[in-house]
Symmetry: C2
Subunit: 190 residues, 2 copies
């Protein structure tokens, strides 16, 4: 290295995540990011040709981290423990659905790397469902999961449920327990 870098890739991705969630895809700009990191825009352009390339690269990183988390489910025995694990992971990665939806806003770019990254991203998205397919199938075979619900929907449902906005500031523990209860048994009294 000829000169020390003012920001690491980790710092850059962390800032990207924060600013993307705060301002949305279109509201996110290199100026915002550069200001946040206390560097000039030019410095960021040294590493990424444009917004599409940066964000697609960032999304790939986030998605891989998430998939790594999810793979942990394979080390766990017993359906109920797996479900508990999955819900915990989902809460830990609460924001990723929002990021994934943003990833879909990336326009088809002239930038080759961004195009390739977008394809990889779609692959990872499928792979994620694939990795969890085993869990769902096992649950249905063991008569633990309602077999009449399509596999993908069960997963999408868990995904969606952990992202309910907490408008009424219900304390974290009660919040998580209540959502878990509803995911498992619904809103009706048992």
């Amino acid at each position: 290295m000829a000169r020390e870098r003012k920001f690491s890739t980790d710092e850059l991705f962390q800032a990207t995540k924060l600013l993307l969630l705060k301002h949305g895809y279109e509201g996110f700009t290199f100026s915002l990011l550069a200001d946040y990191l206390h560097v000039s825009r030019g410095a960021i352009y040294k590493y990424y040709e444009n917004k599409e390339e940066l964000i697609s690269e960032f999304m790939l990183y986030e998605m891989n981290e998430f998939l790594l988390d999810i793979k942990g489910i394979e080390q766990i025995d017993g359906f109920q423990d797996q479900l508990d694990f999955l819900i915990r992971i989902m809460f830990k990665n609460e924001k990723i659905q929002q990021l994934i939806e943003m990833g879909k806003e990336i326009p088809k770019s002239t930038n080759e790397k961004a195009r390739v990254n977008k394809e990889k991203l779609d692959m990872l998205h499928l792979q994620m469902y694939h990795n969890l397919q085993g869990f769902v199938l096992k649950g249905k075979e063991e008569k633990k999961l309602n077999a009449s619900i399509p596999d993908g929907l069960i997963l999408g449902y868990i995904f969606q449920s952990v992202a309910i906005p907490n408008h009424f500031d219900i304390p974290q523990t009660e919040w998580v327990d209540s959502i878990k209860e509803m995911i498992c048994h619904g809103i009706l009294k048992r």
Copy 2:
């Protein structure tokens, strides 16, 4: 009227909805809207000082329509019928949660009308939960709803569940029935 208008408020709001959902809050511009309506930007500025004012006005309109729909629940007897009605209304207004979240992106503007509209919007949001409080309380009293879940969360949960993205293109009827089933009884086998 001195001259026929090229676009009605209804057309304008419909276009606003479409473009907001397509491009997001920051991605939405007067140029986009003007092009869509085949008028000049200036024509829109005749009615709204800026984006904040237009969008807050639009959100107020959408929210009032939605509240009107929701009020229909008071004409219905019996908890289960009310729940069916509510879920049907939620599916009909599938996109409104997304719009409400966007409404929160409106920055505190210098524009007085936008500021007032934002306050009204917050009021309507609370009123919506208030209007449905009766339904939830009744459900809990009649021992139909799980009483250990906070009222606001039960509503937020229904809200959120109807907005699951249908990535796998499951047919509408199966989709709706499955989600209804999960809202009521969860993902586990009964």
